[in-house]
Symmetry: C2
Subunit: 351 residues, 2 copies
Amino acid sequence: MLKNDLFLRALKRQPCSRTPIWVMRQAGRYLPEYRAIREKTDFLTLCKTPELAMEVTIQPVELMGVDAAIIFSDILVVNEAMGMDVEIIETKGIKLTPPIRSQADINRLIIPEVQDKLGYVLDAIRLTKKVLDNRVPLIGFSGAAWTLFTYAVEGGGSKNYAFAKKMMYREPKMAHMLLSKISAVISEYVCAQVEAGADAIQIFDSWASALSEDDYREFALPYIKENVQAVKAKYPDVPVIVFSKDCNTILSEIADTGCDAVGLGWGIDIKKARTILGDRVCLQGNMDPTVLYGTPEKIKAEAAKVLRQFGQHTAQSGHVFNLGHGILPDVDPANLKLLVEFVKEESAKYH
Amino acid sequence: MLKNDLFLRALKRQPCSRTPIWVMRQAGRYLPEYRAIREKTDFLTLCKTPELAMEVTIQPVELMGVDAAIIFSDILVVNEAMGMDVEIIETKGIKLTPPIRSQADINRLIIPEVQDKLGYVLDAIRLTKKVLDNRVPLIGFSGAAWTLFTYAVEGGGSKNYAFAKKMMYREPKMAHMLLSKISAVISEYVCAQVEAGADAIQIFDSWASALSEDDYREFALPYIKENVQAVKAKYPDVPVIVFSKDCNTILSEIADTGCDAVGLGWGIDIKKARTILGDRVCLQGNMDPTVLYGTPEKIKAEAAKVLRQFGQHTAQSGHVFNLGHGILPDVDPANLKLLVEFVKEESAKYH
């Protein structure tokens, strides 16, 4: 049914003619076409207006030729749906009020009806699927519980996660109660996204690397596993990608959540990751996003290196080319276009 | 000659009766005694006034009972000595002017006479050694070339290192020219610190984890090796610690610089690091600094875990207990004191 299903085939580790590519934050500020829409509307309104969210979701498919679309939204819509007031000033910072720091604060958070409180995301997915007309798959996503927990407890972004860690270390039961509550919403939310038409799900654990291995095992991984298993129980054919950025020492345990793909930051050579994980999951990544500041020759050389480091494909292997984190707002779109075209061409030799 | 030489013995992997402990930023804002001095003087003036630098350097030795002192200073004194204007507002941010972005900018930077431009650090070391009166060893330090390069090129702190990476990817020769110039000063500077009395040297590569493995191999490691070898050539008995925070995938290559100890962030279980490195270097680290926000029981449990994870000592092993990064300014000093006392007592069972 999909005209280009390479992305899903790679996630399922089925034979592909070449490596598919999409990039995190591909619907974003680096595109003048995105900025034109943002001039007329603020960030959260854009997330909440399905027609506009659909439009910016499809922009990189049409303008850049990526092999997958990802629904335009923000991980913090989950916090908002649970009853927090969320302010996002895209260039400046994030504020959530009130910060969640006591049992009473946790009790006040609701477990919302996803169809009700996050219906606008589901509407945007349905509309995008329709307009995409099966050109490429559509990715749904959520932040992971630990990352959303840090925003809730800190009341915004954070350097050292002081309040989040204080709760974990002084009131671990309370921390788990909040994490469980968030995780329950995430599970419902990602399943509802699949129901609305999302072809794959990515769980973003952006602040994963702030935790020690054991803290990650206690406060992050079990919830990710819960979310992955929630999707798998209802939709066994829908691939799930877990992106626990820079958790390079516990890749194997991330794969053990039952996900189909492990997303990598650029801190590890993808060859090493493949050596550790074998071909039991697909790997997604992992070029340094700042390489897109480089010359065309440098961009091609670095992309070629990622493909070469991943190496030859087998009947069980899967690789989705991506950056190791989001594309930066001041990148020249021509450089992304060049990357996409180069990866499409160059990767064929490894398949 | 030293009354307590455990820190140096651990770095040299000689038998110790227990594990020595110091913590990064131990002379700092969490101590009311430090804040009392800072109320009367700004940060850089404190660095440049040997009597005051000596006083805050010794505070944690007397108040906390740590097994080593580290000279109070800042990594950016090297940038300043090379001709940049450096402003440090401890709670707000760092500004270096002008940012170094062209060949002409690089040419204008000087390779200073360390005795002249950084004489105040050497004076502070001499004075501190005298007043310490051999109670514990004194650590000298420098930022690594890559980290100082990012400050120079960005003109301050940075989130994505856009300008630094642009130079690396578009003008790699120019980047290497700047890195070489900085590295030459670092080598002179750390040797001068030893000459003035420093008993060990630590190289801080604070922003190490912003680089891919290959970029780290090209733009960071060779300069660290140059600095380590500069010390070793002149002072073979003086231990050098390399702290390339969160470079957990290339620990073995860090050890190959010829350093005596590898500093670890808290992102890797120290047992894994020891498995990778064997006992060919001492390991320094690696408790999450935010554990000091925890209850006394939690602090002891986590410290005990680091010691247990490191495991039993052999005739060739070395472990210096430390946090995985600097102690945070809002930590209760009583919690550090508790940690120091606990590590001293608990660690004996592993020796």
